[in-house]
């Protein structure tokens, strides 16, 4: 789905097959990623997975370092969410966050589209959300200055703000989008969000064919729940991106439907957009595999395996919209395996026609 001309995916070595790092994660990650491998095997996709497990229960950083090395080696990864346990001391940072910052995956891209087969309160939503992925409130720089008083630093830099704004405008132009909206809180955080907004304006001046406007984050959420159709492309710092992407995912039907991608200059990591571990529904065969399957299609597009990507994507969307085989999170009664079987059936019919 999202292919940026500036990113060169690794050339296929080893007999025309790609190697992709797979990080199962916790909760529903392992079972859903197994289904992805099943579908890939069935469809004869020329991708081999190098599986790297990351244990969230240990305090050492060895596991995540191994995963990062594997991604550096392969250039592309597909991952489930790694749980962050609160019982650990604060020095143990969120593994997902460490992965994003080490690989400098500065852009998190999510495309929220209303699906015709899913019942939602709002229709005709088509929003692209580009979220700065490495700094902002997620800098993990905290200290207790005096006992009982904790300071947490939010860092905004000119370089990263320019970089993400540039990414947003280039993506908007490439996809033929008309408008980019910057989401901020510069009336309160005058210097930090003010800098972000200023960088967005600077970049916008170089794209006169695209309209640029800005909106304060609380007004944005209010508008999203009343008139989400007004938004086209949105760009924002890290925390607001977290909020807005979750609101939009909820508007189009839930966390089980929307795939997300994290792009850096050299690497790309694909996962579900809302990054949930789904601990409460793990191993019960009720999780929705749509988001992970669509994320794997985004990955195939990135590897320039467009035919395979379209094949699997069409099968997933047909299952969703025509067959209407829905899992519990979108109001149906199907199981995960039933949905996956349906996808594979549709692929089989397509291949043999």
């Amino acid at each position: 789905m999202c292919e940026m001309s500036i990113l060169q995916p690794p050339p296929a070595k080893y007999g025309g097959r790609h190697t992709v790092t797979l990080i199962p994660g916790d909760g529903i990650g392992p079972e859903l990623l197994n289904h992805v491998r099943e579908v890939f095997r069935f469809s004869c996709v020329p991708v081999d997975f190098e599986v790297v497990h990351v244990n969230s229960a240990v305090e050492t950083e060895d596991d995540i370092s191994n995963a990062i090395t594997a991604i550096r080696r392969n250039g592309v990864a597909l991952k489930g969410n790694i749980e962050t346990k609160h019982t650990m001391p604060p020095s143990v940072k969120s593994r997902n966050s460490v992965l994003r910052t080490s690989l400098d995956l500065y852009a998190n891209v999510m495309h929220c589209q209303s699906l015709p087969g899913v019942q939602t309160r709002h229709k005709n939503i088509d929003i692209m959300i580009i979220r700065e992925n490495t700094e902002g409130e997620y800098s993990s720089l905290e200290h207790e200055s005096v006992s009982g008083v904790v300071e947490s630093l939010k860092i905004i830099t000119r370089n990263n703000s320019l970089r993400i704004a540039d990414y947003a405008f280039r993506l908007a132009r490439e996809k033929g989008r008309r408008r980019v909206t910057a989401v901020h809180k510069a009336n309160i955080m005058k210097l930090a969000d003010g800098l972000f907004l200023q960088c967005c304006r600077e970049v916008a001046s170089g794209y006169p064919d695209i309209t640029f406007d800005s909106m304060i984050v609380d007004n944005t959420t209010m508008q999203l729940v009343s008139k989400p159709q007004q938004f086209d492309v949105m760009v924002m710092p890290n925390l607001y991106g977290n909020v807005v992407s979750n609101v939009c995912a909820g508007l189009v039907g839930g966390p089980g439907l929307v795939p997300g991608a994290n792009y850096g200059r050299d690497y790309a990591v694909f996962e579900t957009a809302t990054r949930n571990t789904g601990k409460s529904i793990a191993n019960k065969n009720i999780a929705n595999p749509t988001a992970v399957l669509l994320a794997s299609c985004m990955m195939l597009d990135h590897l320039k395996l467009y035919d395979y990507a379209s094949l699997i994507r069409n099968a997933v969307l047909t299952t969703m919209n025509e067959t209407r085989l829905h899992t519990a999170d979108i109001g149906g009664q199907g199981t995960t395996s039933e949905v996956v079987q349906s996808v594979m059936r549709i692929i089989q019919i397509k291949i043999f026609n």
């Binding site: 905290e142 904790v150 939010k154 309160i188 959420t221 909820g250």
Partner: protein, 400 residues
């Protein structure tokens, strides 16, 4: 008996609806009562208790008029304040209004402050109702809302969001309350330029403020018969700051075993809120998340034009306000919608223990909106503000 009576002067402030054990009439002014020493002691204890605990019990206790400081505000502020006063009169609510202006003035020492007569009135009445205030640009002084917050240490912002029957939104059956810590967090305003092109903004979380807001949230839940309190945080990323906030909430939850306590990530709350808002009850959170979530919830029920809001401060002060803007384009044209200020005023009545009057006015307001015959433009009709107000007054009187 006469030998045991001690002459004592008891100052009874009229902000507390807590049943005071002092006999005798309540009046807004200082009362000289002749009481036995033991009763005097009881009075003082209960008074202290009332000042310490947020006065939100459902005990309906009010004899005589209560004073409320009214701040009409700017733009459409004056007309909607007049509308509210008219409706209160029609409902025979025992409220005496004291109008004050809070435009900032420079005090001794060069610091900006609110006018002393406004401060004096609020300190005396302890209850305020505020219309929308203009945000000054290049006026040299900070926003009035910020000044009010600092002057009265308004630490909790409470927004009950209830779906209005008759004002259709895609979300029905919303019934939740957001309680937002209003003094620190991301809005501390502490920012620095480290080097050229790198800015840092400091988010401050303190033990004291977190404990205070958590206690308020649980107290509110208990006094308003709410079943659960959910703490909203991002402690997976902001381990120490939101971790501290969460710890304090957990500690306070221990002392309120009758209220269910849950914790949820901010992103999960947002995700679930737009899919099924009925699963939430009372939400407590730090400043930024509260800002975003409370506006999100306002959007669910129809926007800022119909959302009430209250700010609770230390020392028993409470200021209720409408959170929409001043709407200068329709000011003075009798087109404004007074619903937000009216519902905030109803919230105020409940806070003061005047539940009957509050319910009456709210029912009249909701009935008017449900009937859809007399509605202001933003609600989908084409009546004037005065017509809308008159209709509510009529219904209020009919309800008697």
């Amino acid at each position: 008996m006469a030998g045991n009576v001690l002459r004592s002067m008891v100052i009874i402030r009229n902000h507390t609806p807590e049943p005071c054990l002092c006999p005798g009439p309540r009046s807004p002014q200082t009362s000289l009562l002749y009481l036995p020493r033991s009763v005097f002691q009881l009075c003082r204890d209960s008074e202290e208790l009332a000042v310490r605990r947020p006065a939100l019990s459902s005990a309906s206790f009010s004899r005589g008029m209560q004073t409320v400081t009214l701040i009409p505000g700017d733009g459409i502020g004056p007309e909607i304040s007049t509308a509210v006063m008219k409706i209160f009169e029609a409902a025979n609510a025992p409220i005496r209004w004291e109008e004050r202006n809070v435009t900032a003035i420079k005090g001794p020492g060069g610091r900006w402050m609110i006018p002393p007569d406004a401060k004096e009135s609020m300190d005396r009445s302890k209850i305020g109702l505020k219309g929308p205030l203009k945000t000054p640009i290049a006026a040299g002084h900070p926003s009035m809302n910020l000044l009010l917050r600092k002057t009265f240490d308004l630490y909790a912002n409470v927004r009950p969001c209830v779906s209005i029957e008759g004002y259709q939104t895609p979300y029905t059956d919303v019934n939740l309350v957001t309680i937002r810590e209003n003094t620190e967090g991301e809005y501390s305003g502490i920012e620095h330029v480290i080097v050229d092109g790198v800015v840092q903004s400091i988010k401050l979380i303190t033990e004291e403020a977190s404990r205070r807001i958590a206690e308020y949230a649980f107290e509110y839940a208990r006094n308003n018969q709410r079943a659960s309190v959910t703490a909203v945080h991002k402690a997976n990323i902001m381990r120490m700051s939101d971790g501290l906030f969460l710890r304090k909430c957990r500690e306070v939850a221990e002392t309120y075993k009758d209220i269910k306590f849950t914790e949820m990530y901010l992103d999960t709350v947002c995700l679930n809120m737009v899919q099924d808002p009925t699963q939430f009850d009372v939400l407590v959170m730090p400043n930024l998340y509260g800002d975003i979530l409370s506006d999100l919830c306002a959007g669910l029920i129809g926007g800022l034009g119909v959302t009430p809001s209250g700010n609770i401060g230390a020392n028993g002060v409470a200021i209720f306000e409408s959170v929409h803007g001043t709407a200068p384009d329709i000011a003075g044209m009798d087109l404004a919608n007074p619903t937000a200020l009216l519902l905030s005023a109803v919230m105020m009545l409940r806070h003061m223990g005047l539940h009957d009057h509050g319910n009456k006015i709210q029912t009249a307001c909701f009935d008017t909106i449900r009937e859809k015959k007399v509605l202001t433009k933003d609600l989908g009709g084409n009546s004037k503000c005065s017509e809308f107000t008159a209709e509510i007054c009529r219904r209020v009187q009919d309800l008697d």
